[in-house]
Amino acid sequence: MPASEKTFVVDQGLAWTKGFLFSSELEVLKKSLCPTTPDPKDGVDWVLASLGQAKERVILLNDREKENYANSLLKLFSNFYGKKFIRLDFGASLYKKNIPAEKILPYLRQATQISDIENYLGNKRIKNWRIPHNQKEFEIELSYLLNSLPFEEKKPLGVILSGGIFRNKIGPYEILMTLNLLKPSPLTEIFVDKENISLAWGACLKEAALEDKSELKLGGIEKLGTLISLNGEGKVAFDFGLKELQETEVGKDEIIVIPCQSDQKVKATFNKDGVEIKESIITGGLGIIIDRRDNLSFADKSRTSKWLAYLGGLSIIE
């Protein structure tokens, strides 16, 4: 990418058209978004005008190239962390699927009628950019999206969660629901695309032919936390750089969340399948999630029902 040239990237999704202005040093200078208009040009023109686009370079992401852009981003993450990353895309195209309301209902925390779920999703299909008005609608969307993605069989070591829903405040409940989709590796790094910017970053990185960065700070993509998946022994030892190690023991079928400050360097030691694992973690805003739902086939229905049963008693260590 030539020096002193800014880049405009417009990502036209099914529901939202997102625009970003990147500096020549690959910093995000400006963001803009609007619902995707029936005539695509209207939305694109408005987004570019709101970013102040004049003569600078414009990259308009098209569907054919989106997978390549996603791969560029994942390659950067994989190279930086030395482990394989995947991207889980909870985009609006998932609303085309017909997920029965009965599958969504178990994940909702408030008492809800089946017809309420069906009506909300019916209205969402008419105007797919609509935003939840309350907690119940938010959970309906999240539950629907989770039911519409297949289980990820690849045991990824890193995950980037992407989709409009992640612009919102995401807590342990939402993360655990999301991670229910993954076949657990011993340790998984979780990132969240807070600005729906991951494809735009991928486009910039591809154009700049950038595969490695000394510091992985991509504006809009945040480190959320780390998932440790245990079976057998439930003990994890953490080295926070203090005098003594901090040990945590997790009971069988329990999940706990250890809150941490962001960007803290921690070393974790634990056993899985009889093998001692030592990993360095850079913590995220949510902390470290330790999941000890062992000896269950990942697709086993009782895994989900057990998770739902103890969700109310989710232990967060203060």
Partner: protein, 351 residues
């Protein structure tokens, strides 16, 4: 952010309507003729068809022995509620009768033991119902160019149908089975916040041509086969759920109660021919999407609310709501007061 500009209704749209002509009726107009709402387009003596009465099944008799239970011969007339067939029971018990549901003529007994009764021919007049010009005369319909006022909904199903507009319920009431009766044949029922499955089925059986309602459960809507036609046309003005019909739409349609209307599921609209003669057509420049501004009339996409149309007061910055959603907010004024809502959930209403 830009938002969609939606029309809830339009005035004096030039449109094409089709008026069905029963088989056997004489067409009294020609192509190019100007017509008024009172113009008689066709008239004649026609039969509305026939009915099949399952006499053998109802009486519980052998299908080859129906004839001996009939009170009429083939070719005889019979009137509504008269006894068509009878089976005497034993010692006065188990007596059964079949009455005619129409005024008609006994035509035949089928091999299944059903009796075919043909409607008695009656004088039929097809009135234009619209002011305009005859564009085309086809075998069983006339095509008329006319000016209409149109009411737009958000979703619909069923082909274009004509009927007399009748207000069936107030905006915040339900259209119940009890709201629908035999007199509603050939009517377009309008109003209400919702209609249930059983009322929809009764509407079909009663010969209702169309229903325009504020809301409907998504599952009930799908059960009518989106994109197909089940015998009447449905237009939903507000969305899925229990949603009172907007007062703006309800009041406009109420003015036209008793007049002809044309309901179209594909365009989710109800067209009401303009009765008065206008020399000029209003021209409204179509604007599809634009930035909202204060004092815009807006509609909220929120099925939890009883009232959905209000005035935009202000546009706020991006905030995180108490349930964790981060989005740009707006303040709008409804009749019941001011509310804060995601800006993206508004539509600008252009009427």
């Amino acid at each position: 952010m830009i938002l969609p500009v939606v029309k809830r209704f339009s005035f004096q749209d030039t449109t094409i309507i089709q008026r069905s002509i029963p088989a056997g009726a004489n067409i009294l107009v020609s192509e190019g003729d100007k017509v008024t709402p009172e113009t008689i387009l066709a008239e004649g003596v026609v039969s509305a068809g026939q009915r099949l009465l399952q006499v053998a099944k109802i009486l519980g008799v052998n299908k080859h022995k129906v004839k001996k239970h009939l009170t009429r011969k083939i070719g005889d007339k019979i009137f509504k509620n008269e006894v068509l067939a009878r089976k005497e029971g034993l010692f006065g018990l188990g007596k059964k009768v079949v009455t005619s549901s129409i005024d008609g003529e006994v035509m035949a007994i089928t091999s299944e033991g059903d009796v075919m009764v043909k409607f008695l021919p009656e004088q039929v007049r097809v009135v234009s119902g619209a002011r305009g010009k005859i564009l085309q005369i086809k075998k069983d319909e006339l095509v008329i160019e006319t000016l209409v006022h149109k009411v737009f909904g958000v979703v619909g199903t069923g082909r274009i149908r004509e009927g007399i507009i009748k207000i069936a319920a107030k905006p915040n009431e339900f259209i119940l089975e009890s709201n629908i009766n035999g007199d509603d044949q050939n009517k377009i029922l309008v109003g209400g916040a919702s209609i249930g499955r059983s009322a929809l089925e009764k509407a079909v059986k009663s010969g209702v041509r169309g229903i325009v309602v504020g809301g409907i459960n998504y599952a009930d809507f799908l059960s009518f086969g989106v994109g197909s036609d089940v015998g009447f046309t449905l237009v939903v003005t507000e969305g899925f759920g229990i949603l009172p019909m907007g007062e703006d739409i309800f009041n406009k349609v109420k003015e036209s109660e008793g007049y002809f209307g044309f309901v179209d599921g594909k365009s989710s609209s109800l067209s009401i021919p303009v009765m008065a003669e206008f020399k000029e057509k209003l021209k409204i420049r179509p604007v599809k999407w634009r930035e909202p501004k204060a004092n815009d009339l807006v509609r909220v996409l929120d099925e939890q609310r009883g009232e959905l149309v209000g005035t935009l007061i202000s546009i706020e910055g991006e905030k995180t709501t108490d349930y964790g959603v981060k989005t740009q907010m707006a303040v709008i004024e409804l009749k019941l007061g001011k509310i804060q809502t995601p800006l993206a959930n508004l539509e600008i209403v252009q009427n």
